[in-house]
């Protein structure tokens, strides 16, 4: 349906996009936010970084985004990195309040020096994908929390980036809206074949969305387990009540609890 669609290959056959190699991140010389974090992102992946607050999930994302540099280790993009490799969705919608929806989504193109006329169709297409056709000329304040987040997602998608980073994008939304947006995110992924790293502290969200879950533990932040969710897409609301879903959610939850338990015991000894 769109000229930007990429076909998603099965898990083992996807070309690699990016590798985080044994990355350490230390703040102020001694606070270890991240230790020996390794991560491989392949085209079409939807990877969740799951863990409690303070486990370095957001730090990992900021490192990949190039907003900070690793203290040790490397982040390598296959084929080098360029300005339009990334799309980002933050926890807040992060829209410019003085600009209309279309102007907000136009921003990445505008910064590249492309005229609005030349990308108007593309923006319309993405706004249609996120269901905001009728709100093109609206200001952010006129939209609900969920709709603002859709604009934010549209902005991240619009340049068709190699990788989209999402930092707990739905954490501030109510449960009903959040489930709806989770469903919609999977539809978007099916429609565009985008690659996503999704930070969350919700076990259920991570199981529902991802094909791989990296469970992280705090102090120092590190990956303690990788869980593959080998359930086929498309997944719909029925998946949320399936026994497979429950089993994986249980396993993920146990892993997370074990990680936290270990950390607490480590802290006591």
């Amino acid at each position: 349906m769109t000229d930007i669609h990429r076909d998603i290959k099965p898990l083992g056959e996807r070309p690699r996009i990016l590798q985080m190699q044994e990355v350490d991140k230390t703040f102020n010389g001694n606070v270890a936010a991240l230790r020996r974090m390794s991560l491989t992102v392949n085209e079409g992946d939807l990877i969740s970084l799951l863990g409690p607050s303070g486990c370095g999930k957001s730090t990992a994302l900021r490192l990949i985004a190039g907003l900070m540099r690793p203290t040790r280790g490397r982040i390598v993009w296959d084929g080098g990195q360029s300005a339009d490799d990334l799309g980002v969705v933050f926890q807040e919608p992060t829209l410019m309040p003085w600009a209309t929806v279309i102007q907000n989504v136009y921003l990445p193109f505008r910064l590249r020096g492309q005229s609005l006329a030349s990308v108007r169709d593309r923006i319309g297409e993405v706004l249609h994908l996120v269901g905001l056709d009728k709100f093109v000329e609206s200001y952010p304040r006129e939209l609900s929390g969920g709709m603002k987040m859709r604009v934010s997602i549209a902005r991240a998608l619009v340049t068709n980036p190699r990788l989209i980073l999402m930092d707990e994008p739905f954490a501030a939304l109510d449960e009903i809206t959040r489930q709806k947006l989770n469903n919609d995110l999977l539809s978007l992924k099916a429609a565009t074949g985008c690659t996503v790293i999704f930070v969350t502290h919700s076990v259920f969200e991570s199981v529902f969305l991802s094909d791989r879950i990296l469970v992280m533990a705090p102090r120092p932040g590190r990956v303690i387990s990788e869980i593959t969710v080998d359930q086929p897409y498309p997944r719909d609301s029925a998946f949320r009540t399936s026994p497979e879903y429950a089993a994986i959610a249980r396993r993920t939850s146990d892993t997370l609890m074990a990680a936290m338990g270990n950390t607490e015991m480590e802290a006591e000894t």
Binding site: R62, L67, V88, F90, E92, M96, L111, Y139, P140, D174
Partner: protein, 294 residues
């Protein structure tokens, strides 16, 4: 594929009840309070102002106060009309000084604010000067300015500018630094250059702050102009309103002093209303301060 609606959109009641049924006593009371408030917003200031003027008039008439001590409001208006040929050109002079100073303050304040946010070292170097200029009372600096600057008109503008410039600088600097940090990150991720960052993020973020500064500076530039005229007295080829008031006071022409004062007050109100209107016009679409809420 299209995603229709959030779960958040409001549900309409299934049965369309007649309006009167929904209109209970409490709602009626609330609606009445709203109506009264809407009328009072305009009526109250007018009534109180009228009463005050009437009281002033009665005070003068009943106590038989001579006009060289306190003229009646009627006489002030009469004098304003009678002396219009003298007062109006003076008002234009003061207005010209005020607006020129304000314009220079806006341009200078914004440019300096941009410079400060672009270069930390520029801010470190020059901010203390700005503060010193702000905290030193203009009355004490003005005599020096009139010695050094021979062109009286320029000297007056300089005085008014010194007073008006700081709120613009301080507010705009704050505004430029107040851009949302996630949006700043976004700019970094999309590799925006310095100019793009300024143009698309920092300047729009600073607009409400700048307009707040402008409202203060508008009033201050008038004050600065008037104060400078007073200090200049007859030395600086002054024929502005303050000079007229001084002149009238030497001649014990109290009604003309009041007429001049009235014009200055009206100018101040006009400047305030224009800046407030500008504020509303530019922010009405998006900024919290300009939004109406029920």
């Amino acid at each position: 594929m299209s995603i229709a609606e959030d779960g958040t959109s409001g549900l309409k009641p299934a049965v369309n009840e007649p309006e009167s049924a929904l209109y209970d006593a409490e709602e009626a009371r609330y609606a009445r309070a709203r109506r009264i408030e809407a009328v009072a917003k305009w009526a109250l200031p007018i009534i109180v102002m009228t009463l005050a003027i009437w009281g002033w008039d009665r005070l003068v008439v009943i106590n038989n106060i001579p006009k060289y001590i306190l003229p009646s409001p009627g006489l002030v208006v009469e004098t304003l009309i009678k002396d219009w040929g003298i007062l109006y050109p003076s008002m234009l002079v003061t207005l010209k000084i005020t607006l020129t100073a304000l314009a220079v303050a806006v341009v200078g304040g914004v440019l300096l604010a941009v410079l400060f946010t672009q270069s930390k070292f520029a801010e470190m170097s020059f901010f203390p000067f700005a503060v010193i200029m702000q905290v030193t009372p203009i009355v004490s600096v003005a005599p020096l300015i009139f010695i050094y600057v021979t062109n009286g008109f320029v000297a007056l503008i300089l005085c008014a500018w010194i007073v008006a410039f700081f709120p613009i600088l301080a507010n705009t600097t704050l505004g430029l630094k107040s851009a949302d940090h996630n949006l700043r990150d976004l700019m970094t991720i999309y590799r925006a250059n310095r100019w793009q960052r300024l143009r698309y993020l920092q300047l729009p973020s600073a607009l409400p702050y700048f307009l707040g500064g402008l409202r203060i500076a508008g009033g201050l530039s008038l004050i600065g102009a008037i104060v400078a005229e007073y200090v200049a007295g007859s030395t600086a080829a002054g024929s502005g309103l303050a000079f007229r008031i001084l002149e009238a006071s030497y001649r014990l022409n109290i009604p003309r002093m009041y007429a001049g004062l009235l014009l200055i007050a009206l100018m101040g109100v006009a400047i305030f209303m224009i800046t407030a209107g500008l504020n509303h016009f530019l922010l009405r679409k998006w900024h919290e301060s300009a939004l109406k809420r029920d």
